[in-house]
Subunit: 330 residues, 2 copies
C-alpha cells in the first residue's frame, strides 16, 4: 500500500468499488427542509452494505492488498462498523478476517461482524491491552492490519462517498454548501474533503462530533492534534476516538471548515427525525451531522446543507428509547 492519499487514489478506489459498494441515495424531505430552515440533502450511508460507510474503506483496503497477503488474512480493531465493513469485504474476497472488538460493543455490531464470517476476539477495554493482543495475533498468523482511519487505502475508500456527493449534489442544483460529516478519527472526513476539493471545490467539509469527543473541532481551532480527556462518555459509540489521525488531520486542517459539536440528546432527537422524515435508521454516532443541521443552524451558512447519516447499526432498545423520547417532536 502507498503512504499517501489524494484524488488519484480515491478515483482508483471508486473503480475498485464499482459493483461491490452501493451508490447510496441523496435523500431530501420537504418537511425536514421546513424544520431545518434550509434545504437539507442527506447522504444515506446507513443504506451502504453492512449498514455504514465503513464498507467502502474495508473493500478499498482489501481490494488493494497484494493477493498473497490477502490470502493470509487481515486483522482489524473496531467497536463495530469498521469491523463489519472489513468482515464483509474480506468474506467477499475469500480472505480470513480477525476482528478485535471490545466486549461492551453494541450487540448488533458484534453479531453483524460474526454474521459476515469473521473470527471475533472480544477483549475487556479496562483490563486488556488491545494493541498487544492484536500484535500477537497478527505475528502468529501473518495477518495484515487494516486500521480504521489512518490508512491511505481506507481514506481513499471513504473518499468515494465524496465523489458521489459531488455528482448527486450537482444533479439537484446545489453547487456551494457545507457538507457535514460524522467524524471519529477523520477517515471519512479527510477522504470526503479530498474528493470534494477535486470534484466540487465549493462544497466544504465540516466535521460533526459529540460533546466531550470534539477533538477534531478543537484541533481545527488550535491547528494541532488535540486529545480528548477520556473522562466523559457518549452514546455515539461509532465515533469516540481519542484524537484525529496522523494522516487525516493534515488533510482536515487544510480543507475543512470549523467543527460542529452536539450533545447526546440532540443526536438522539436527530435519530427520531431521520426515522420520521427520511424513513431511514441512524445510529447515534451516525446522527451527529443531522443533529448539527437541526441544532446548530446559526453556525451553518447558505441556503442548502449536505449532511451524512453515516451508519444505522444500533441496538433495538436504544432506538426504541429515542423514538419514545423524541418520536413526537416535529
Amino acid at each position: 500500500m502507498t503512504d499517501s492519499v489524494g484524488i488519484a487514489e480515491i478515483r482508483a478506489a471508486a473503480r475498485r468499488l464499482e459493483g461491490a459498494a452501493r451508490v447510496t441515495p441523496l435523500l431530501e424531505s420537504d418537511t425536514l427542509n421546513v424544520i431545518a430552515g434550509r434545504r437539507v440533502l442527506v447522504k444515506a450511508e446507513c443504506l451502504q452494505r453492512t449498514g455504514s460507510f465503513k464498507f467502502r474503506g474495508g473493500w478499498s483496503a482489501l481490494s488493494a492488498l497484494d493477493p498473497a497477503a490477502r490470502a493470509k488474512g487481515v486483522i482489524a480493531f473496531s467497536s463495530g462498523n469498521h469491523a463489519q465493513g472489513v468482515a464483509l469485504a474480506a468474506k467477499l474476497h475469500g480472505a480470513p478476517a480477525v476482528i478485535i472488538m471490545p466486549s461492551d460493543a453494541p450487540q448488533a455490531k458484534i453479531a453483524g461482524a460474526r454474521g459476515y464470517g469473521a473470527e471475533i476476539v472480544l477483549y475487556d477495554r479496562r483490563s486488556e491491552d488491545r494493541d498487544a493482543l492484536g500484535a500477537t495475533l497478527a505475528a502468529e498468523r501473518g495477518l495484515t492490519p487494516i486500521k480504521p482511519f489512518d490508512e491511505p487505502m481506507v481514506i481513499a475508500g471513504q473518499g468515494t462517498c465524496g465523489l458521489e456527493i459531488a455528482a448527486q449534489t450537482a444533479a439537484v442544483g446545489v453547487a456551494e454548501a457545507d457538507v457535514v460529516i460524522c467524524c471519529g478519527g477523520g477517515g471519512f472526513t479527510a477522504g470526503a474533503a479530498l474528493a470534494l476539493e477535486a470534484a466540487a471545490p465549493r462544497l466544504r467539509v465540516r466535521p460533526a462530533e459529540p460533546a466531550g469527543f470534539d477533538d477534531a473541532a478543537r484541533s481545527l481551532r488550535s491547528g494541532r492534534r488535540e486529545r480528548n480527556d477520556g473522562v466523559g462518555s457518549s452514546i455515539c459509540d461509532a465515533i469516540l476516538t481519542p484524537q484525529p489521525g496522523e494522516l487525516t488531520f493534515p488533510v482536515m486542517r487544510r480543507l475543512c471548515g470549523p467543527g460542529l459539536v452536539v450533545g447526546d440528546e440532540e443526536a438522539r432527537c436527530a435519530m427520531a427525525t431521520a426515522w420520521k422524515h427520511l424513513k431511514i435508521v441512524a445510529e447515534p454516532g451516525g446522527a451527529v451531522a443531522l443533529a448539527s443541521v437541526l441544532f446548530r443552524r446559526e453556525e451553518i451558512e447558505g441556503d442548502a446543507v449536505i449532511c451524512t447519516v453515516s451508519g444505522g447499526n444500533v441496538d433495538p432498545g436504544v432506538f426504541a428509547a429515542a423514538l419514545s423520547d423524541y418520536g413526537d417532536a416535529p
Copy 2:
C-alpha cells in the same frame, strides 16, 4: 382524464414525474438474503416524497388535470398515504386540496397531510357518510375528486415505479422473478403489472395482503371481484380496502400471479427486519410484501425476488412496539 390506462399512459406519467418524484433505490442486504434463502431486492418506496409511493399517483393526477380544474382544487378520501401524496402534489402545483380522513387515522398521517398545506376534514367512520360529505364539498367548491386507486392517472403514476423496478432489476442481473407488491385497492399492483408487462415481461407481479383483507388473493383465485367481510381488523391501515377496483382488477387478473397473505404479527416482524437489515422504516401495510418474502418462502419460486416497501408513515409507538417484540429476531 382518460378512462383507460396502459403503458403509454405510464410512460407519459414518468415524463411528468421526472424531477418531481424521486427514483427510489433498490436495496439489498447480504444478511437478509441469507435469512430469506434467496436474493431479495427491495424497492424502498418509503423513501419516496411523502414517505410512500402514493406521491407518484398524486403527482400524476394533478399534473394531468386541466389547468382550470386544477386551479379550483382537488378532493381526496384517504386514511393517510394517498392524502399526503395528493396534498403535497397539490401544494407544489399551487392547487387547493381538501382531504377527508377518518378521525382514527394514524396521527402521523393526519399531521403529514396537514403539514403539506391541505385542508383536512375529519369524519367518524362509524356515524358519518364519507361519500355524501365529499360529494357536498366537491359540488360546493368545484373540486375534482382524485380517487385513490380506480383512477387511470393514479394507476399510471404508481406504474412508474414498475418502470424503475424493470431498469434497476436488470442492472443487478435479475431478469426473471416474482415482484411482490403491497396491495390495497390495486392501483400500485395494476400499475406495476402494466409497466412490467411492457418493460420486463419475465417479472411477474403478485399482490401481498394482510389476513382478513385478502380480497385480491381471493379474487385472483375465483376470477371475479370478491369483497372482504369487513368483520376483522388489522394493523395494516394503509391497505384495508373492501375489494379490488373496477379498473384495477381486470389488469390484475390478466397479469398477476397468485396473491400472498400474511398475519399482522408477520408484518410487525418484517418491520423490525427492514429496520435491522435494510435500515429503512416500513409501516405495517408497507411491510406485508417483505413479510411474504420472509414467511411464505415456499409459495415463491426462483433464486431472487423483488418486493416493495411501499410506505413508512407510522406512529412512533407502533414502531417501537414492533422493535420491542421483534428487534432481537434474526
